[in-house]
């Protein structure tokens, strides 16, 4: 997971990488919203979700290795929802749905989670692969967001990367000092979270906030770090993404009615 996070940023080589960073973030966000809005229970909705996720992943040029890794991560996160199907069918329960119709209706809820989950994961991951850490900062700063929000979001992403590195150091220290194998180390790392990891992270957060205060981070309009000029291709990409969001909303509206 740590390597996946580190390696993913800026690893994409698709045509979307040529868009301005803010256009990549805005288009990614609009497509993410479209994938959530489209219903997973209709053919048109499924087709739209699949199209949006696949097209954006391809446009961002997500490396095959990352595609495989995120597919595995998605499988681990979302496929277990199908284990709920036997519970939801209520087979043999008086008054519960039964037969093929009951099975299909029980399948609907996990299917909804799995399809939307996979699409959301790939859309987020593809957007991340299209942005280097520096692009991300420039993109967030160029978006019309409140100054406090941009400052916090940028630090969350930056400090998350630092946190992964810190976790790696804690894990390495535990592995070396305990002499355990991989599984033993994982267990020891988990057991150490409240006693080792958490105090270290709290201490780190304390120091980082002191550094932010000293360096004037909060009082500075971070847009001084690098404004960008919008181009026609950026507007077209955002327009297409918003169009797909509107289509998803229309399909959802039609489905509800």
């Amino acid at each position: 997971m740590r390597a996946l996070w580190h390696d993913s940023w800026g690893s994409g080589r698709g045509p979307a990488v040529r868009l301005a960073p803010e256009a990549r973030i805005a288009a990614g966000a609009a497509l993410f919203a479209a994938s959530l809005a489209a219903p997973a229970g209709t053919g048109r909705g499924i087709a739209l979700i699949a199209f949006v996720a696949t097209a954006w992943t391809a446009a961002c040029g997500m490396p095959l290795r990352a595609v495989k890794s995120f597919a595995l991560l998605g499988a681990a996160m979302f496929l277990p929802y199908f284990l709920l199907v036997p519970l939801l069918t209520g087979a043999g329960t008086p008054g519960g749905p039964s037969g093929q119709g009951g099975f299909l209706s029980a399948l609907a809820a996990p299917w909804d989670v799995v399809l939307h989950g996979f699409a959301g994961l790939f859309l987020t991951a593809a957007t991340v692969t299209s942005l280097s850490a520096s692009d991300f900062r420039r993109g967030v700063l160029a978006l019309p967001l409140p100054r406090l929000v941009t400052g916090v979001v940028i630090q969350i992403v930056h400090q998350t990367a630092v946190l992964f590195a810190e976790t790696g150091s804690v894990a390495a220290a535990i592995a070396v000092r305990s002499g355990s194998g991989r599984a033993g180390t994982v267990l020891r790392v988990l057991a150490s979270v409240p006693r080792v990891w958490l105090p270290r992270i709290i201490h780190r957060a304390d120091r980082v906030s002191a550094a932010m205060e000293l360096r004037g981070y909060a009082e500075t309009d971070l847009r001084v770090m690098g404004p960008t000029k919008p181009r026609a291709a950026d507007a077209a990409a955002i327009g297409a993404a918003v169009g797909l969001l509107a289509l998803a909303a229309a399909i959802r509206w039609d489905w509800i009615r």
């Binding site: 520096s134 930056h158 590195a165 780190r204 120091r207 002191a210 205060e213 000293l214 001084v224 770090m225």
Partner: protein
């Protein structure tokens, strides 16, 4: 207190909890404009706390003046424009993903034009021997390289007072030597917390020794310190 003092401590006491044993007790000294002093002491002697107090990050009793202005919560912002502070853990200080961006931040927030700010940041990184990593993610650098990136961010704005906490930690011998030479060339007053007497002796002519939160020696003779520590050659 000297009128030329850029930093003055007058009977300063710092406690982390009210009523607890003080971490610093009755500390008084002044640092004149352009003067370079090493703040030395064993682990836990209060060096970092003293530096923190000087920029208002540790609450204190007594009086601390930076350039004649008392260190208080409401003056903290104004005072921090006059000071450059280096933390002993560079990861705490680096707030931007790319080395060049982090080093340029102080200039950009002072209104320096972007191209010029990046040019000056890169020049400072090069002077500190890390010019080749200017465009790299700071997270991927070694500890010594991160230390120099953080230091570049401090030095590039040219503050009149530098408070440096273990600046040579994690640097290789050539890196320590070039850093000592660079610090020796600067006009800024500096207070450098360190255990590294050889490093400090290259550019400091004054040694302030802290022991259990009190100043036990303040003078020009580094050998007093090594004798006290039992580390003299």
């Amino acid at each position: 207190m000297s009128v030329a003092a850029v930093l003055a401590f007058d009977r300063v006491t710092v406690r982390y909890e009210p009523g607890s044993r003080p971490v610093l007790e009755g500390v008084s000294f002044t640092l004149d404009r352009g003067e370079r002093a090493a703040l030395v002491g064993l682990n836990g002697s209060g060096k970092t706390t003293l530096l923190m107090a000087a920029v208002g990050l540790a609450g204190h009793e007594g009086l601390i003046l930076v350039d004649g202005i008392p260190v208080r919560r409401r003056t903290a912002g104004q005072l921090r424009q006059k000071t450059g502070f280096l933390f002993n853990v560079p990861e705490d200080q680096i707030l931007f993903p790319i080395a060049r961006e982090d080093a340029a931040f102080g200039l950009l927030r002072r209104g320096v034009e972007r191209t010029e700010a990046y040019r000056r940041a890169e020049a400072m990184l090069a002077e500190l021997g890390v010019g080749d990593v200017a465009g790299q993610p700071a997270l991927h650098l070694s500890h010594g390289q991160k230390q120099r990136v953080a230091l570049a961010g401090v030095l590039v704005t040219g503050p009149p007072l530098l408070l440096l906490d273990e600046p040579s930690a994690g640097l290789d011998p050539p890196g320590r030597l070039s850093l000592a030479r660079l610090l020796g060339r600067l006009d800024a007053a500096m207070l450098v917390a360190t255990h590294d007497l050889d490093f400090a002796a290259r550019f400091c002519r004054r040694f302030i020794v802290l022991a259990e939160g009190r100043i036990s020696y303040d003078g020009p003779d580094a050998s007093v310190v090594s004798q006290a520590w039992g580390t003299e050659a």
